[in-house]
């Protein structure tokens, strides 16, 4: 199908493109930019005047809840949510039920996702069998089945010997290891940041040191093994400082932040609002400021949604019993735009953090719009504001701390491999 996207503000952060131009899509690929190819005859024309035309968003962490948690969400609903949010590629963590520790499960997931013809799904494999932290998984088999990296999701990895071996093994074959820095013991059972709010509300607390201790361990082991490690969901100011120092030292480490942590802090828990029960916990204002600045100066490489649909049964319970997590696929773009406005970051640089940068971490040739590239495109109105309401979300997860709030950035069209998979 030949699609002509006219007069939009074409932004391709990777190639430094930011100008009004028409994008020509044919046979699932970018056919031309600016001038129509010879003999062009569009089947469909999209008037993108006033809109931004950019690469489809790439979300490094979105829980699709299959297999195992279909009562919370299904692939169908969450893929709808993804493309409604302009996300054309996403990586899903291995903490499904059963965890993604066997090639068969990975293949099934990829197959299911492919048949839906929506966003591209890149499964992240489990680092240890069952995510139990005892034995390594067959990373070779899993990589062959399609795993782009290996992680331990949110499960504690107490055995530093195992962690060391896993990193050595991964380094041997060039596999990527994604780890969320959290000590297995300190702050165990904690549900909120160890600060004034947790003290006042009497909530079991997770000190910042739970993150920094684990970060120090991982950085030290990364230095020794030479593995490509990506740190997931930074939450502390001290953690950002450690990453800055490690990068300055020349270590090949990267990291990300979840979109929610750029905007919220522990005070937002208010009177025990379980929508603000997240992992890692929302920390103090100083931490939030450091995360925002870290993402702006490149210490933090990218933003992800950490999309986690949770049903009412998981949230309409006392805070300490509630399931952590927030829905996020449809908020990745708005929350990134909001962050950029606050930090005075230009739109192309902001978009880089949800397109080119995640692509680089995934090791994919994606997140950009060069001629010949698969046409994964997100067309959005940066000036349109909308109110976050359950009816406005396509995800089955309506659990968000932003309920009732107005956010900027409305996706109008999403294309995956040259097909329009979403229009609004």
């Amino acid at each position: 199908m030949k699609i002509e996207i006219r007069n939009g503000r074409l932004i391709d952060p990777k190639h430094g493109i930011d100008r009004t131009a028409t994008l020509f899509v044919a046979a699932g690929k970018v056919a031309a930019i600016g001038e129509a190819p010879a003999g062009w005859n569009a089947n469909r024309t999209i008037d993108a005047a006033g809109l931004v035309v950019g690469p489809g968003l790439i979300d490094l962490s979105a829980r699709l809840r299959e297999p195992g948690f279909e009562y919370k969400a299904t692939l169908e609903s969450e893929m709808e949510a993804a493309v409604a949010g302009g996300v054309t590629s996403l990586a899903c963590p291995p903490d499904t039920d059963p965890p993604l520790d066997e090639p068969g499960l990975v293949e099934m997931l990829k197959h299911r996702a492919r048949s839906l013809n929506k966003a591209h799904v890149y499964p992240v494999g489990a680092l240890s069998m069952g995510l139990r932290g005892e034995a390594l998984t067959e990373m070779g088999e899993l990589a062959e089945a399609g795993c782009v990296a290996f992680s331990h999701a949110d499960q504690p990895l107490a055995d530093t010997q195992l962690l060391y071996r896993a990193m050595q093994y991964a380094a041997t074959f060039g596999y990527r290891v994604w780890l969320r820095p959290q000590d297995a013991h300190i702050g165990k059972g904690g549900v909120a940041h160890d600060g004034e709010v947790a003290t006042r509300l009497g909530l079991p607390a997770v000190p910042a040191s739970a993150e920094t201790i684990a970060l120090a361990t991982i950085i030290a082991l990364a230095r020794e093994t030479g593995v490509r490690v990506h740190l997931c969901r930074l939450s502390t100011a001290d953690g950002v400082a450690m990453m800055r120092a490690a990068k300055k030292d020349g270590l090949a480490v990267t990291c990300d932040v979840a979109a929610h942590h750029l905007h919220l802090c522990d005070v937002d828990i208010g009177w025990f609002n379980a929508q603000c029960h997240l992992v890692p916990p929302l920390r103090g204002t100083r931490d939030r400021a450091a995360l925002c600045a870290g993402l702006a100066d490149g210490t933090i490489d990218l933003v992800c949604s950490d999309h986690t649909p949770v049903d009412d049964d998981g949230k309409q319970v006392p805070f300490g019993e509630s399931e952590p997590g927030a829905t996020g696929l449809e908020l990745l773009l708005p929350l990134t735009l909001k962050w950029a406005a606050g930090e005075k970051v230009a739109l192309p640089a902001a978009l880089a953090r949800i397109t080119a940068q995640p692509a680089a971490i995934l090791g994919l040739d994606a997140g950009h719009l060069a001629v010949g590239q698969a046409a994964d495109v997100c067309i959005f109105d940066p000036a349109a504001h909308w109110v976050v309401e359950p009816q406005a979300l396509r995800s089955q997860g309506k659990n968000t701390p932003f309920l009732g709030l107005e956010v900027p950035g409305r996706v109008r069209y999403t294309l995956v491999s040259g097909q329009i998979v979403f229009e609004h």
Binding site: G195, A198, G202, F319
Partner: protein
């Protein structure tokens, strides 16, 4: 953020925590408790205020003491009292906390007295009732996790006011496991709200929450230093689990540093009073000589507790 405990006219409609309560609401509760202490001394200890009202004691955590005092208080107000001892296992049967509440409201509950192991459970219930338009049903927090025990805080304030008159001249010390104590948190909020100039917390670092200073509390690790010049000493109960959680090596070591003995008591003012929310662990946090001594007001605290709870139930039911 609107205070979920107050209605549109600023009247107390739920009692969830002392934090954020206006000082005059706290004073009204303390003042209203006074006539209720007289009622306790009559032959007929009942008044008809809550006649025909159904008060449900919703206890998800066992507590015979607190439940009994609430039951006595409600019955002395002529209310019908129904006790529900729902162990933590009830929710594992599939019925959520809010489902249980909805069912009981359908049975014409007028008030819930709630004790729960999770901080925030009473807030969740009150928010649910407010959101679903059931403004005539009230929630009184009988203790939630580590967060709050507002009626205990109020009866402690009542006791202090009874013996010491004016909060604005006092130095009050709270000793022991503040980290896990809802009693301590409520008392701290109560004391700072009514203008107590110096509130102290005394304990080892393992048992004091990180951000205590932010609540307006002066922290001491040395008990003798901390007791100097105190008018009121509140001893907290030390639970045996604390020894298993590597927070303390032993009860003996705790008693050595933080147990209230006559010689440590001598560091405080000569007319200082000694309080304890109960039940006491003699020889762990408090020496029997002090617990039974003339400065101890531990038994009067219990009597005042019924009057204070009668005041709370009456005020909340009338709004």
């Amino acid at each position: 953020m609107r205070n979920p405990q107050l209605n549109a006219d600023g009247g107390l409609t739920h009692l969830l925590t002392l934090e954020g309560l206006p000082a005059d609401v706290i004073r009204q509760i303390l003042d209203t408790a006074i006539p209720f202490t007289s009622i306790a001394m009559r032959d007929v200890k009942k008044v008809p205020l809550l006649r025909g009202k159904a008060v449900f004691n919703l206890f998800f955590e066992n507590s015979t003491r607190t439940r009994t005092t609430f039951e006595i208080a409600a019955k002395r107000l002529s209310a019908d009292v129904i006790n529900l001892n729902i162990g933590a296992s009830s929710t594992s049967k599939g019925e959520t906390l809010l489902d249980t509440v909805d069912n009981l409201v359908a049975m014409n509950a007028d008030m819930f007295v709630v004790r729960h192991a999770q901080s925030g459970a009473p807030h969740l219930i009150a928010a649910h009732l407010n959101r679903t338009g059931r403004n005539h049903v009230h929630v009184v927090n009988a203790g939630d996790g580590r967060h709050a025990h507002p009626t205990q805080g109020l009866l402690d304030l009542f006791t202090i006011r009874h013996y010491k008159r004016d909060f604005r001249n006092l130095t009050v010390a709270i000793v022991g496991d503040v980290l896990h104590s809802r009693v301590a948190r409520s008392l701290i909020h109560g004391l700072t709200t009514v203008g107590t100039p110096e509130v102290r917390a005394i304990g080892p670092q393992t048992l004091l929450p990180t951000a205590l200073q932010a609540l307006g509390v002066r922290v001491f690790n040395d008990m003798r230093e901390g007791l100097k010049g105190c008018d009121v000493i509140v001893m907290l109960r030390l639970q045996s689990e604390r020894m298993r959680g590597a927070l303390l090596p032993s009860a003996g070591e705790f008693f050595k540093h933080y147990g209230l003995t006559p010689d440590k008591l001598a560091m405080a003012k000569p007319d200082a009073i000694v309080m304890h929310p109960g039940p006491m662990n003699r020889g762990v946090e408090i020496d029997s000589a002090v617990a039974d001594g003339e400065r101890s007001v531990i038994l009067p605290q219990v009597t005042f507790g019924i009057a204070v709870r009668m005041a709370v139930l009456s005020i909340v039911a009338g709004n």
